[in-house]
């Protein structure tokens, strides 16, 4: 047990300090566990949740092909046109679109799509881009918490707890919607000076209209492959429909995602090749997950996680209190550490905890974990990958968002979203 814990903790330190690539850390950790005989090779292999890996791979392929089709650029340009250069509309529309995209695409892809055009629009109009970027980062994490495919912790939880795509939406829409409204509302109030409409400022209005014309020219000036875009949209839509009808189809979400990717590849052979698409799969991320699954299994096999589970269950008799412990510990930890290793470790803990519970109660443990892990990631710049990517994109354009600068705005808002989630969990546990 001690060796497994030591290997896990050392790996965690390397992951936090980023001295080595995350994938190298977890795969090396996993190899060490096998070499030291803590896990048999077959045990290690069987502990990899290939459902999750296939889901991630399928979505990555779909995203890569979608990006090549320029559908996202087309959409961003259309949205920019819709706003007519109104800073408040840019703020509102782009934040809502970020939340929506994040629910169905991965958060990092969503940020890569929306942040550059937001910067182009706001910088072009001499408006401070920071409220927009921070808002988009937060909404990407909040939106991603809504669905099974929106955020990696949810993918892990959905796979382990056999929760469907629809169950995530049905059970989480309330706290997520409340969080979206609260975050947008509060950000609007605190940033009003920077996002208020400019209809009474002729110079700014002229600048924004010139900029919109330029953006339209830059995008519409390039030849658009209409059939490529249409096929991409259609198959993306069908894939999401597949997720919604998952139970009726009797297929796992991973199979649906991979099927979507294959159909898209077949339909767009003139525009993309399998070889190109495969090279764009984030293999380090998949390897990271594989290594993590093996390391989490080692902790489970040695009885450590059973110990953790009994500590939590003995900490309190009150089920509601237990849910809040899970929610807030997931939330706080996710603010400062990568939430994926935490969720990977908590999954066997919760699996153990729910053994003697009625299903309608047990499922709340998963929702508490999902909400805490996904929403907590908003608290600091390092809390989620989307945060790091968003602020890096900003830095490239000389927009510096410091750790404290981000936290000053995001941390209180994150606490508010966790409070909403707590209210929801308390309500559900008492119904």
């Amino acid at each position: 047990m001690i060796i497994s814990i030591a290997i896990f903790l050392i790996a965690l330190v390397f992951i936090i300090t980023e001295r080595l690539d995350k994938a190298i850390v977890t795969v090396s950790g996993a190899l060490l566990l096998v070499i030291l005989g803590i896990l048999e090779p077959e045990q290690a292999f069987h502990s990899i949740d290939f459902e999750t890996i296939i889901l991630l791979m399928g979505m990555m392929m779909i995203m890569d092909i979608s990006r090549k089709s320029q559908i996202f650029n087309w959409l961003s340009t259309k949205l920019a046109e819709l706003t007519k250069g109104n800073p408040f509309l840019i703020f509102l529309i782009f934040l809502l679109v970020t939340a929506f995209f994040s629910a169905f695409l991965d958060n990092v892809t969503t940020i890569i799509i929306v942040v550059p055009i937001t910067i182009a629009l706001t910088k072009g109009m001499s408006i401070d881009p920071k409220p927009y970027i921070i808002g988009e980062i937060m909404l990407s994490n909040i939106g991603g918490a809504l669905t099974l495919v929106g955020d990696p912790p949810n993918i892990l939880i959905g796979s382990a707890a056999k929760l469907s795509f629809n169950e995530f939406i049905v059970n989480l829409w309330m706290p997520i919607l409340a969080s979206i409204v609260a975050v947008i509302g509060i950000l609007t109030i605190i940033s009003w000076g920077k996002i208020k409409p400019i209809k009474k400022d002729f110079k700014k209005l002229l600048l924004s209209h010139i900029l919109l014309k330029k953006i339209k020219f830059e995008f519409y000036g390039k030849p658009l492959k209409r059939s490529f875009i249409i096929k991409t949209l259609l198959i993306l839509g069908l894939t999401v429909l597949g997720f919604i009808l998952q139970k009726q189809l009797g297929l796992s979400v991973g199979i649906i995602a991979l099927a979507g990717a294959m159909i898209l590849l077949m339909a767009t052979t003139k525009n993309v090749t399998l070889h190109e698409t495969i090279t764009k799969i984030e293999w380090p991320t998949l390897l990271f997950f594989m290594g993590l699954f093996i390391m989490a299994t080692a902790l489970e096999e040695t009885g450590f996680l059973e110990l953790v589970s009994s500590v939590i269950t003995s900490a309190t008799d009150d089920f509601t209190y237990m849910l809040l412990i899970i929610l807030w510990s997931a939330g706080i930890i996710s603010m400062f550490l990568d939430n994926i290793p935490f969720v990977a470790v908590m999954i066997p803990v919760i699996t153990d905890m729910q053994i003697n519970m009625p299903p309608e109660k047990a499922v709340l443990l998963w929702w508490a974990l999902a909400l805490g892990a996904c929403l907590g990631g908003n608290g600091t710049i390092i809390g989620a990958s989307a945060n790091v990517v968003g602020t890096s994109l900003a830095e490239k354009e000389n927009i510096h968002i410091s750790f404290l600068g981000y936290m000053k705005t995001a941390f209180p808002l994150t606490l508010i979203t966790l409070v909403f989630s707590s209210i929801y969990i308390i309500y559900r546990s008492n119904v």
Partner: protein, 315 residues
């Protein structure tokens, strides 16, 4: 705002050429007056004046843009003057907006008509079988070639310059089915004998009597002076009828770069435009016809004198 506007204008001029950029800004002005929310007439005039001040002082200054905005501003002054004269009141916002829309429509029509005349005048100079060297991203030059292609067979050599500009030129020539080949601008000495004519576009002609043009133009013009006729294609409205200063028509940008495989840092300095003395050109084709460089210079001096009141009021 001025700095941001300058940057935007520079990028757009590089992508679109002067004429199309100005047309785009005029369209943006129409959208702006639609969306501008005020019923306070004085506020409208003051804010419009403020915006025009920024347009006049961008770096680089764009002659055609300033000329057009001066005409619009003049129209507003007339509208204001009429109303004051009539009832000692300010012109209403709606009237001012209508005046701007009317003037913008007029200006766009004038620019299009001027372009047709330049096409017609240039077409006369192109002979069947000519090989025309292009070092430009001017849409004036591209449009004249497209128009001429309908009636005559000729080919082009594209002097390869900044990547995006070269690609844009290639795209247009290909679309118009004009045969062409591309030669890097520093290797033109090898194809001198093939060139029958050189076509150059311009951003403006300034008070130093220099033609402001895409970077690299000076080298190309110097190379071909005396070897092939060098034509400058530009509308007369592009001229800058004010006293130019060094920084008015070119921006200098400096960036610190690192050698590709050695730890050597160096400064790389770029300039947004070249300035070529007018007398380097053999002919200038405008909407008024073909002129020699000295005829163009006389025209410029005459118009410059005529606009002294314009300058006092506007600048």
């Amino acid at each position: 705002m001025r700095e941001r506007l300058s940057q935007l204008i520079l990028e757009m001029e590089s992508q679109l050429g002067t004429r199309d950029m100005v047309e785009m800004i005029l369209d943006a002005l129409l959208d702006t007056i639609e969306d501008f929310n005020t019923k306070d007439d004085k506020k409208f005039c003051n804010q419009f004046d403020d915006a025009v001040k920024d347009i006049k002082n961008t770096r680089p200054r764009i002659g055609l843009l300033i000329e057009d905005f001066h005409d619009i501003w003049n129209e507003i002054q007339k509208e204001e003057h009429c109303k004051k004269h009539e009832k000692n009141a300010c012109a209403k916002c709606e009237d001012l907006k209508k005046a701007i829309k009317r003037k913008v429509k007029e200006l766009k029509k004038k620019n299009r008509e001027d372009m047709k005349l330049i096409n017609k005048n240039t077409e006369k100079e192109i002979k069947k079988g000519d090989t025309i060297l292009l070092h430009t991203h001017s849409h004036t030059v591209i449009d004249t070639l497209k128009a001429a292609r309908r009636k005559k067979r000729f080919s082009c050599i594209v002097a390869e310059q900044q990547y995006e500009k070269t690609m844009a030129l290639i795209r247009e020539l290909h679309k118009s089915k004009i045969p062409f080949k591309v030669v890097p601008e520093h290797m033109l000495s090898h194809i001198e004998k093939e060139v029958d004519k050189v076509f150059i576009g311009a951003v403006t002609l300034n008070s130093f009597h220099s033609v402001v043009s895409t970077p690299g133009t000076m080298a190309v013009v110097s190379e071909f002076k005396g070897k092939a006729p060098i034509y400058l294609l530009m509308g007369t409205r592009k001229c800058s009828f004010w006293k130019a200063k060094e920084h008015h028509h070119s921006r200098k940008e400096q960036e610190l770069k690192t050698h590709c495989d050695r730890p050597i840092k160096y400064n790389r300095i770029k300039f947004s435009h070249d300035r070529v003395p007018l007398e380097m050109f053999d002919s200038v084709i405008t909407e008024k016809g073909k002129m020699t460089a000295s005829q163009m210079l006389d025209f410029y001096k005459k118009e410059h004198r005529k606009r002294s009141k314009w300058r006092k009021a506007f600048f």
